[in-house]
């Protein structure tokens, strides 16, 4: 039962990452991120129940309130204020991007077999999904132009790191986890403020226009 829930959640996270790659409406992309974080929280809760580790509940609560509610709300507000709702044509079109992501998933799964726990079912899937998401996040980062999409890519990478942490260590020490979450929130806030300032000055959040500095 636990096993099935974990694998289902991990698969859901991977699917949400793929959907994000195929998505141009920014609102939907943010909702996908919220769903992804919710699934991450579910993974943490499931493990907390199965292994009787109370501090994982704290981490799950934190993930769900911050990442599937607060951060998406904040990002949506940013988009609303600046009135830009769609990603423009990415550097690589959607079908090609999805194909690349398929390759990245294969790489992620291949690497995950090297861990000592790698041959056991659940950990293998969690770590495989996490590493694939990490690569997909990086890929999103380099191929998308809108500032908000880049923030989402960063957050996807961050979710992937947390999934690795859950998969192979069953969670980092709580204090560290809290500190990390606090830093992530701060970083998102600052990114939001910067997006505001950028839109104010450039009347666009197309980061490919940020190209004056060279050499």
């Amino acid at each position: 039962m636990t096993r099935d829930v974990l694998i289902l959640c991990a698969a859901g996270m991977l699917v949400s990452a793929y959907l994000m790659v195929g998505q141009k409406a920014l609102f939907t992309a943010i909702r996908l991120y919220a769903v992804q974080s919710l699934l991450l929280g579910t993974v943490a809760i499931t493990m907390a129940i199965a292994d009787r580790r109370d501090e994982l509940f704290v981490m799950a609560a934190l993930t769900i309130t911050l990442k599937s509610a607060l951060i998406p709300w904040f990002l949506m507000r940013v988009i609303d204020r600046i009135g830009i709702h769609r990603e423009i044509e990415p550097f690589l079109n959607v079908p090609a991007s999805l194909l690349v992501c398929l390759g990245l998933t294969a790489v992620g799964y291949r690497v995950s077999t090297g861990f000592p726990e790698g041959t056991q079912g659940v950990t293998h899937h969690l770590v495989g999904v996490a590493l694939s998401m990490l690569l997909i996040g990086l890929f999103l980062m380099v191929t998308r132009k809108k500032a908000v999409t880049q923030i989402l890519a960063l957050l996807t990478v961050e979710n992937a790191v947390f999934l690795v942490a859950l998969g192979i260590t069953s969670g980092m020490p709580l204090v560290v986890e809290l500190g990390i979450s606090f830093d992530v929130i701060l970083a998102v806030l600052m990114l939001g403020i910067l997006v505001h300032r950028i839109v104010d000055r450039f009347e666009s959040m197309d980061v490919s226009r940020l190209s004056k500095l060279k050499g």
């Binding site: 000592p116 990114l191 050499g215």
Partner: protein, 494 residues
């Protein structure tokens, strides 16, 4: 509370006081007073260490060994001079009417906050806290990069924050993997991530997980250090940041990130031998030195020139560590010390030049500045002599030490390439510095700079010149003792 806690509390309180705003005199006094006190406390903590104690706080979370003590003192020093120069910088800008109250609050709050984060990095014994502290240095510096709120400063700040966060994501994954490689041997709770504990269980770490973790952590912290190919944020950020904060990044962030790299390297060395992480560091370092080469030669902006020079220097340090052995480590740490002592001069003289000419682009500054702004140009020439590693200044000796370690070790080909690159970099820096300061005066078409006056900024630049020159001939005995202690941590017990 013990001294170590006070050392961290002092800049934090200064930051709170600064961010509240208030009359200018009061802000200036708190910034300078707070950062001077911080530097004094850093010296005190290092003194405790030299006295034979190992200062710790909050259990073993903060711990000052030789390496920490050296980085702590250097960061404290840089925080202090940058606070002094920062006040002068703001006064100059205030006279021009460029500053809003928000900018002042940001500056007075974020500079000490940055110093706090930097010092926290240098005394962290816990890999989790270390990561959090490095992230704090990033967050504290974003709005310092965006300080002037121009198009280009927003671009620089955006690139800096996105690339920095991505790098830190990698570093976090690296930390998680290192933690996982212990397979539960580290125990539970906060103390499980302690570096000293890692060192104790090092031989039993799982090799595959460890290697993967080391790669991610080195790439992640290497991004913050500005090692190629993750260096691309550096030129932009240095150009846009005010000189006072530029030097905080060029020395503070560089030393802090190097500190993280060293801690990871040491764990890896204790677990699977030095070759793996040393090889990575050597590759990244060599790549940085090579990447800096063409960009120095074609550079069009004074502060970006300093950024590429800083990429060169972090490359030199990484090569020193990568070449390994006690000699390589000693060379690298000596280089770090001399670099930290001399870099403020380079930044403050370049910053003064740029402020006098109202631009840091070479074509706007024009050639032959020595005739128009003799003091600032003279200081910059002095900085060029020191930064390029010319004898008799310190970096010449540290570079020779590293080269000697290289040629006596197994990596002779890499060392030869390194030597060749150093020669080209020397010529490149001098080509640019010479063209700007000594070239023919363009005559009537010249950009007429504002007259040089001896204000606080200039006085601080002169002070840093004095420190940079004196330190070449005389390093105080406690400082050499610290370098030796740090070398023992890094290079000892091969």
């Amino acid at each position: 509370m013990n001294l170590l806690v006070w050392t961290l509390a002092a800049p934090l309180m200064t930051a709170v006081a600064g961010s509240l705003g208030g009359p200018r005199r009061w802000n200036e006094a708190t910034l300078i007073g707070g950062l001077s006190l911080t530097f004094a406390l850093c010296l005190g903590t290092a003194g405790q260490f030299l006295g034979g104690a190992i200062p710790t706080a909050f259990g073993n979370t903060l711990r000052v060994d030789g390496l920490s003590a050296l980085v702590l003192v250097l960061c404290g020093f840089v925080g202090w001079v940058s606070g002094l120069y920062g006040v002068g910088y703001l006064r100059r800008n205030d006279a021009g009417g460029f500053l809003t109250p928000r900018m002042l609050r940001e500056f007075y709050g974020l500079v000490p906050a940055y110093v706090f984060a930097m010092l926290l990095v240098s005394v962290s014994n816990n890999l989790g806290i270390l990561w959090i502290a490095v992230e704090l240095t990033t967050l504290a510096s974003v709005f310092l990069v965006a300080f002037h709120n121009r198009d280009t400063s927003l671009e620089a700040a955006w690139k800096f924050l996105v690339l920095g966060s991505l790098g830190l994501g990698f570093a976090l994954l690296g930390t998680v993997l290192l933690f996982a490689s212990a397979q539960g041997r580290l125990g539970e709770g906060m103390s499980a991530l302690e570096w000293t504990r890692f060192m104790r269980v090092a031989p039993s770490l799982h090799p595959f997980t460890l290697r993967l973790g080391v790669v991610f952590a080195l790439i992640g912290y290497g991004t913050k250090a500005g090692l190629a190919p993750m260096h691309t944020w550096k030129p932009d950020a240095y150009r846009e940041a005010p000189s006072a904060t530029g030097v905080l990044m060029a020395v503070g962030m560089l030393n802090g990130a190097l500190y993280c790299l060293l801690r990871i390297h040491l764990i890896s060395k204790a677990a699977i031998g030095a070759d793996f992480s040393a090889g990575l560091l050597l590759t990244l370092g060599l790549l940085s030195v090579l990447v800096a080469m063409p960009f120095l030669l074609i550079q069009w902006n004074l502060k970006r020139l300093l950024a590429y020079s800083s990429i060169e220097h972090v490359g030199i340090m990484a090569v020193g560590i990568g070449l390994g052995g006690e000699a390589g480590a000693f060379g690298a740490l000596l280089h770090m010390t001399y670099h930290s002592l001399a870099k403020p001069l380079a930044f403050f003289s370049a910053g003064t030049l740029a402020q006098l000419h109202r631009s840091s682009d070479f074509d706007k500054i024009g050639s032959g500045t020595l005739g128009r702004t003799p003091v600032a140009s003279g200081l910059f020439l002095l900085a060029a002599v020191i930064m390029t590693g010319s004898p008799p200044f310190g970096m010449f000796f540290s570079e020779i030490t590293i080269l000697r370690a290289g040629f006596t070790g197994p990596h002779t080909i890499a060392t030869s390439v390194f030597l060749g690159a150093l020669v080209v970099l020397f010529c490149g820096f001098w080509y640019q510095a010479g063209r700007m300061t000594l070239g023919p005066d363009p005559g009537r078409n010249a950009n007429t700079p504002e007259p040089e006056v001896v204000d606080l900024g200039m006085a601080v630049a002169l002070l840093t010149a004095l420190i940079a020159v004196v330190s070449a001939f005389y390093l105080p005995a406690p400082l050499t003792a610290l370098i030796r202690a740090a070398t023992k941590v890094v290079g000892g017990g091969a």
